[in-house]
């Protein structure tokens, strides 16, 4: 990490927290009954600066998830997009809006250089990709038995149109030497204790060189929100959010696997448990591999748990996504999974984006009912019927079960 912003950012961060407007009662929380009771007790609706009220799970570092009603549509608005930090040293806006540059180096770079934000925007082809950014730990809080960590519900994710430049174009300017195996990334945020490993990640060279892997400076047509990576962040479509480095200021092209804590000791899953197209071989160990590609998944956005719905019929809306093959089908059940009917897929926003869908229930029997949805990707993968336990609580794609009363 290049530390210039972090120390000054601490004091400013505290001021920023003090200025926050709490909005506990601004909008109802729809918390899953599967969350730990302690999570349900401490979570509140709270508005970070520049954001609508989100579900506060932890104040510092800020971990706030998007309320589930945002997932009835394909695009997640910037001011409702979830916030996730590992470490509390977050630069303030003034530091991030100063002249920005990213250093590109590493032992497998031909000519290390520094590229300013202005140069990024003017000297490289500008591209757009619409893609889902989902935290690896999304739905960790719904694990049974529970596992420690941020107890996320359904909302540690969002999908946006990201505008920026291809990482591979920027890497080419530094010159990628034969023998390069990984590209590592650092951001301006960091730890508050000297003994805490700075947050840094790496990608296999092949993913770094992918056409869709970009350095973004805009999100849904606006600059990146402060707490979503201002002024630039990495976009790694199909892969979980841990690789989407915020406040990007350092890129290193490496001839050896990156040995950072956040690659080798955390964000790991049992080898072979989940499907991938591109194995991260340089970071594989005997029993574990880094979490990389997302699993196929869906969420129902407009039917709150415990709500009353008209037995005469209503519309169920949600989104589905996967690791980049695109969504082939979404099915809905209104009887707890006994019978499934196909939903209508709405406009296709691309293979890495949310695919919005809707389902008209038709007339239903009054009384208690359980609503579910499950998605199938173009790779033929379907959401898991049973949770696949893993120590860190990743890749939970068990269909929601929403209890409603029909009247």
């Amino acid at each position: 990490m290049r530390r210039r912003s972090v120390l000054t950012g601490l004091g400013a961060g505290a001021a920023l927290i003090g200025a926050r407007i709490s909005a506990r009662a601004a909008s109802p929380m729809d918390l899953s009954p599967l969350l730990p009771e302690g999570t349900r007790a401490e979570a509140i609706m709270d508005a970070l600066p520049g954001k609508q009220p989100l579900i506060k799970l932890a104040f510092r570092p800020p971990n706030y998830e998007t309320p589930i009603d945002a997932f009835a549509e394909a695009i997640t608005p910037n001011d409702r997009f979830f916030v996730r930090y590992h470490l509390a040293g977050i630069p303030d806006i003034a530091d991030l809006e100063k002249a920005w540059s990213v250093k590109i180096g590493g032992d497998a770079a031909n000519k290390p250089l520094e590229v300013s934000l202005d140069e990024l925007q003017r000297q490289f082809p500008v591209v757009e990709v619409e893609a889902v950014n989902q935290c690896s730990g999304c739905r960790r809080g719904l694990f049974s038995p529970h596992v420690p960590g941020v107890q996320w519900g359904y909302g540690a994710m969002g999908s946006a149109v990201w505008r920026g430049v291809r990482l591979k174009d920027v890497l080419a300017r530094a010159g990628v030497r034969a023998g390069a195996v990984e590209v590592a990334f650092g951001g301006a945020d960091g730890p508050v204790m000297e003994g805490t490993p700075d947050f840094a990640k790496s990608l296999p060279l092949e993913k770094a060189m992918d056409e869709s892997t970009i350095i973004a400076f805009a999100m849904n047509g606006a600059k990146l929100p402060h707490l979503n990576g201002l002024p630039i962040r990495l976009i790694v479509p199909g892969w979980t959010g841990t690789y989407w480095m915020k406040h990007l200021n350092e890129i290193n092209i490496l001839s050896k696997p990156f040995d950072g804590f956040w690659m080798q000791k955390s964000y790991r899953i049992p080898k072979g448990m989940f499907p991938v197209d591109l194995p991260f071989t340089t970071q594989a160990e005997e029993k574990t591999v880094p979490i990389t590609e997302m699993v196929v998944n869906s969420v129902i956005g407009n039917v709150p748990d415990g709500s009353r719905q008209p037995a005469a019929g209503f519309t169920i809306q949600g989104v589905a996504w996967d690791r980049g093959h695109g969504i082939k089908q979404v099915e809905v059940s209104t009887d707890g999974g006994a019978n499934w009917k196909p939903a209508s897929l709405r406009e296709d926003h691309g293979k890495y984006a949310f695919r919005a869908w809707r389902f008209e229930t038709g007339k239903l029997q009054p009384g208690a009912a359980t609503v579910m949805a499950r998605a199938t990707s173009n790779a033929g993968e379907t959401q898991a019927a049973q949770l696949k336990p893993n120590p860190a609580g990743y890749q939970n794609n068990v269909p929601q079960k929403i209890a409603i009363t029909l009247a």
Binding site: L10, A14, I17, E42, K56, M193
Partner: protein, 96 residues
């Protein structure tokens, strides 16, 4: 530790912050050690969020992870008191 960093930590750990001050942990032996040892890096709502499902050994593993992997400034006697507090107030009771 750098003086500037220390000053910042004290600022962050102060209980006067607007919303963090709303966090209320259960009273009990070891609470002061928890406040002193844990709040330098993170708000204490992390504790309530991760409850109630960890056993004494589960909390011990978390505290050891904070010390060994993340460099929390907690010595062994302090760690013992923190683990005792967390398992007594936010842990799964031992099976009798």
């Amino acid at each position: 530790m750098k003086p500037l960093l220390l000053a910042s930590l004290l600022l962050l750990a102060a209980p006067a912050l607007a919303d963090e001050s709303s966090i209320e942990l259960k009273p009990g032996a070891g609470l002061e050690q928890v406040q002193a040892g844990c709040s330098g890096c993170h708000s204490l709502d992390y504790i309530q969020m991760n409850s109630v499902f960890l056993t004494h050994d589960g909390w011990k593993a978390e505290v050891n992870k904070m010390r060994q992997a993340y460099g929390a400034p907690i010595d062994q006697p302090m760690a013992d008191e923190i683990i005792q507090y967390l398992s007594a107030q936010y842990g799964v009771p031992p099976k009798s």
